[in-house]
Each structure stands twice: as C-alpha cells, then as structure tokens.
C-alpha cells in the first residue's frame, strides 16, 4: 500500500520522520536488504534530527535524505562487511519457498532495477513517486523497471534454479 502523504503532517518534523519510515524505508529495504536498510534508515533519522532546520526549508527533503542514505550505506558495503539484499537468507527460506525464490531472483538484479521493480510492482508506487524520491526521470524509472522485469522473467524460466531443484513454478 502506498503511504498517504497527506496524513503525515509533512509540515512538521514528526511528519517528516513518518515519511522517512513509510517512503524511504521501503526504498532502503529494496536496495540494501532488511537489516542493512533498516540500520541505514536509523542513521538517516539521526541525521534528520541533527539537521531539522535545513530539512524543513528544503523543497524535496526526502530526495535529500535518500542521498544521505546512499552516503551512509558506503560503510556497510566496504570489504563485503555484511550481507545486503535480501538479508538473512536462511531466515527467509523456511517461511515460504516462493518468497525465498522471489528474493533470490530480485537479488540478481542491479540495485536500481530492484528498487524500481519492487517499488512499482511490489509496493504499488507510481512512476512519478519513484522518480521524485530517487531524483531521476520517469523514463529512467521506466527503463529500470523494464530491464528488471525482463531479467526476472528469465530467472523464472531458468531450469537450473538452484533452490528449487525441481520444476520451476
């Protein structure tokens, strides 16, 4: 479900934090996985708290905070310190095989493709919302989605899908 931004009192800092958790967090989960994405979100919230005045004057504070999150993400990816998307694979596996497969296939996409595909077709965002938050053009979102879906369709028909071991569903 796409968040209703009008319910969030976006003129207040609390509303902004609410938007971070409803709009930015799904992006970070999609890009960095559950655990790293959540940790980065916490750091972004801390950054927002320390820069309240500047943020409240910005026209697109969420776009700015997304850029902040990319900076914060660097230390998680250096030297392959932590697994990123989708996070703890084994935790996922025994819940639902289809979800586990889906996350594995999504992990094979580039980060931008994964974010766009998940936001548009998983979380139900519009192309305009994705483009605004990522600060890219809608055509770029369209390209990422198009290429991502094409790769996912290939993965679905891959006869050697390792987890399945049997007929792919």
């Amino acid at each position: 479900m796409q968040p209703d931004a009008h319910d969030l009192f976006p003129e207040s800092f609390e509303g902004l934090i609410g938007q971070v958790r409803t709009r930015l967090l799904p992006v970070l989960w999609s890009k960095w996985g559950v655990d790293v994405g959540s940790d980065i979100c916490s750091e972004v919230e801390e950054h927002a708290w320390n820069h309240i005045a500047e943020l409240m004057e910005m026209s697109n504070p969420m776009g700015y905070l997304y850029r902040v999150s990319q900076s914060k993400a660097r230390r998680y990816s250096r030297w392959l310190k932590r697994n990123t998307f989708p996070g703890h694979l084994a935790d996922v596996g025994f819940e639902d095989r289809e979800i586990e497969e889906s996350l594995r296939e999504l992990a094979s996409l580039t980060a931008n493709q994964r974010v766009c595909v998940l936001l548009v077709h998983g979380f139900g965002w519009s192309y305009a919302d994705v483009a605004e938050l990522l600060d890219i053009k809608q055509t770029a979102v369209n390209n990422h989605v198009n290429r991502g879906l094409a790769r996912l369709r290939l993965a679905v028909t891959n006869q050697n899908s390792p987890i399945v071991g049997f007929e792919p569903s």
């Binding site: 989960w29 996922v92 889906s102 369709r153 390792p162």
Partner: protein, 402 residues
C-alpha cells in the same frame, strides 16, 4: 516515454508478496533494534523518549535489587517462581509469567553467581513478560544477543518456532501496535472458490500496512497469502476497514486453516493476532508433508569446503521443492562473521525421481563458508509437496574439521 512494462500476473503476485515480506521482516528487525537501543532515541516521539529512559532507569535499578535478593542460601527459596518484590516497579507475579503452549516460562534460580532467569533454552516466542521485562533488560544494557531470533542449537526438540519470530514489547516503553478487531472469516469454504477476509485496524499513528497470513498444521497457504497486504475498504489509515480476497484452489488441502491478521503502524509498532480458523472442504486429503529418509553426508568437510548431502523424499502428491539448511553453533547465522554458515550462492541440488514422481533421491552440494568454525553442524531438512505441505526439522549432524 517508452511503453510502460506490465509484468504477468504470476510475477506481479510474487513481487507483491516479496514486498510484503520485506515490510514485515523489516518491521520486526527495527523492533528488535529499538529494544536494544540502536534506533536513535532522538527520533522517538517525546513521550516515547521519556518512557524509554524511565524504563531503562527502572530496569537498571530493579536488576540491582534482584541480584541482591536472589543471593539466597536457600535454593528452594530462590527457585520459587516468581515474586521478587524488591521494588514495586519490578514485581513479577504469577499472572505476568505467561504460560504459552504449556512451556515453563520464567523462574529465577540462584547459581551462586547471580540471577539466572531461566531463558537459556527458551525461544524468542516464549515468555513474554519475564523475557522482555527482565531478561531483555540485561541485553539492552550490555548490548549482547544482537539477533535473538537466531536459535541456539542443543536440543532439537526444544528448537524454537522459526517461521515468524516475534518480539513482545513491554508496556512501559509506550509502544503499542495497531488495534485489530472485527475480524470476519467464513467458517467453511469450498475448495475452488474465493475467500474474503475483513477486519478493522486502528492506530493513532496511522496504519502503514496490514494483511493476513493463512496456514495449516504442516503448511502455508501460498496461494492464499503469507503476509499478504490488505486493501483499505472504508475509513482511513487511522481507523479503517480492510479486506483481502484470495482464491482457494480446487486441490487445496481439506483441513483446518489458521488465520493470522497482522498490522504495523508508521512508527514501526506492529501487532499480530491469531484469531480464528476456517475449514476447507472438497479439496485434497493429503495433509502430510514429504517424508525424508536416508540422510547422509558423503564427505568430510573443512571450512570453505563443499559438503555433499544425499537424502530421499517421498510424498504421494509429488515433491515440489527441497533444500537442506546448515545450522552451526548459533543457528543458521554466524553471529561472529555476520554470514550464514553455508554459502548458499554455491548451492546445487540434483534429483532422481521415479516415474510417478512421488519418490526422489536428492543430492545437494553447498560450500561451508570459509568464516565458519570447526565443530558439529546440523542439517535442517526443508521440503514441500505439490500441495504446500511442508516439513522443516533437524535431521542429522556432521562434523566440520580444520
């Protein structure tokens, strides 16, 4: 602009389920981190901030009181569950020691060194009051046990519920998830028909997501949703009525299904209600998960090496999928290296099935992660039949040697 791509229905459904799963796992992860104090306190609401620090102070002073009282020379006295009236704020009486599923959940014992709250062998799903109210406070204060959901091996029969680890939040932290009510589920559903769930979710911090999970004793209803998101039918995200409709396939297992409604608000608080059941009639009578036999490890293996596993699966409905998970001393996840004990990117499974397709010989190879220590490891078999009946349980152990 280029033509907007549309995924096929199956892919669209998989993506929506993956997104719902991320949402749910992420919310749980943030709850755990909040309990450990890792979420910036500055970003909490003011009342939550005050409650958080007051809670820490009370827990800290209470833990000191308990440690003094628990140093008794009379072991029977110290093991009496469970009224440690050192401080009104920390009274834990019989009512607050929740007995779930008949498991013993909280007793204080004196081992001579301090207080043992008896939670060594408990799962994260057990013992809400004592675990979070007292034991969790120690974790908050010393920063240990970062991933409580990861089970510790030892007694396979007492291995915790793995599918949906949940964390109970103490009231003193002022953290309450959405209130779920007015759940409407038909009592009996015919296989090959649609089923609509309706419920009401209300939260002053606005409901960010809510949905249903459906399962039966040995399976999950993948066609009907595991963590699927509901649709807001009326009202608002502050207080509204939600619904979710799914299709019950004609070959659905004819048995009782449990329905769990979950919801999370925009501050990350979540609630989960296992409310009711319904019965599917006219479907398939196979309610058994695949039977596994002849599990063996073909070779000796060292960290970084490939382990080869053979096993046999049988199910009258046909085998859908299977995998062997490798569990080490701290579960499936190595807390030291922050990686899984096995590198599943190297996973390869081959099968050799009979003509009917109901019995298969499987061979799996997977690399033991180079960071994994030597020791005794356990193989957890996970297998699903064509109907969705699933088994997940420990099978055999094997040694990883340097």
């Amino acid at each position: 602009m280029n033509e907007i791509p549309q995924p096929d229905v199956a892919l669209q459904r998989k993506l929506r389920r993956a997104a719902a799963h991320l949402q749910r796992q992420g919310t749980q992860y943030r709850e755990k981190k909040l309990l450990q104090g890792d979420v910036p306190i500055a970003t909490m609401k003011l009342p939550h901030r005050v409650a958080f620090w007051l809670g820490l102070i009370v827990i800290s002073s209470g833990a000191f009181g308990i440690s003094v009282l628990a140093r008794s020379d009379n072991p029977t006295e110290s093991r009496t569950p469970v009224r440690l009236a050192s401080d009104d704020a920390l009274i834990v009486d019989e009512e607050s020691v929740v007995q779930e599923n008949g498991n013993q959940t909280g007793e204080a014992s004196n081992d001579g060194d301090g207080v043992d709250l008896g939670q060594t062998d408990r799962s994260p799903n057990e013992s809400n009051a004592v675990d979070v109210g007292l034991g969790q406070s120690d974790r908050i204060l010393n920063g240990e046990n970062r991933f409580d959901a990861i089970p510790v091996l030892g007694e396979p029969t007492s291995f915790p519920e793995l599918t949906t680890p949940t964390t109970s939040i103490p009231d003193e932290f002022g953290r309450v998830g959405p209130v779920i009510s007015e759940i409407a589920v038909p009592a009996i559903v015919k296989a090959g028909s649609s089923l609509t769930f309706r419920w009401r979710a209300a939260d002053p911090d606005l409901v960010s997501a809510t949905g249903v999970r459906v399962g039966w004793a040995s399976g999950i209803f993948s066609s009907c949703g595991f963590g699927e998101l509901g649709t807001l039918e009326s009202g608002t995200t502050r207080d509204g009525e939600w619904s979710y409709t799914c299709w019950i396939p004609s070959n659905a297992v004819s048995t009782f299904y449990s329905v769990s409604i979950w919801a999370s608000d925009m501050l990350g608080h979540s609630s989960d209600i296992s409310y009711t059941t319904f019965v599917v009639e006219g479907g398939n009578d196979d309610t058994s998960a695949p039977l596994y036999t002849n599990v063996s490890v073909e070779n000796t293996v060292s960290p970084g090496g490939i382990v080869v596993i053979n096993w046999t699966l049988a199910d009258p409905s046909g085998i859908e999928g299977a995998v062997m998970w490798v569990a080490g001393p701290t579960g499936f996840y190595n807390l030291t290296s922050e990686k899984s004990y096995a590198n599943y990117a190297t996973l390869v499974i081959t099968r050799d099935c009979n003509a009917a397709g109901d019995t298969c010989e499987l061979t799996q190879s997977v690399q033991i992660d180079p960071t994994s220590p030597a020791g005794v490891y356990t193989l957890w078999v996970s297998a699903t039949d064509k109907l969705g009946n699933k088994v997940l349980e420990p099978s055999i152990q094997f040694d990883v040697t340097n």
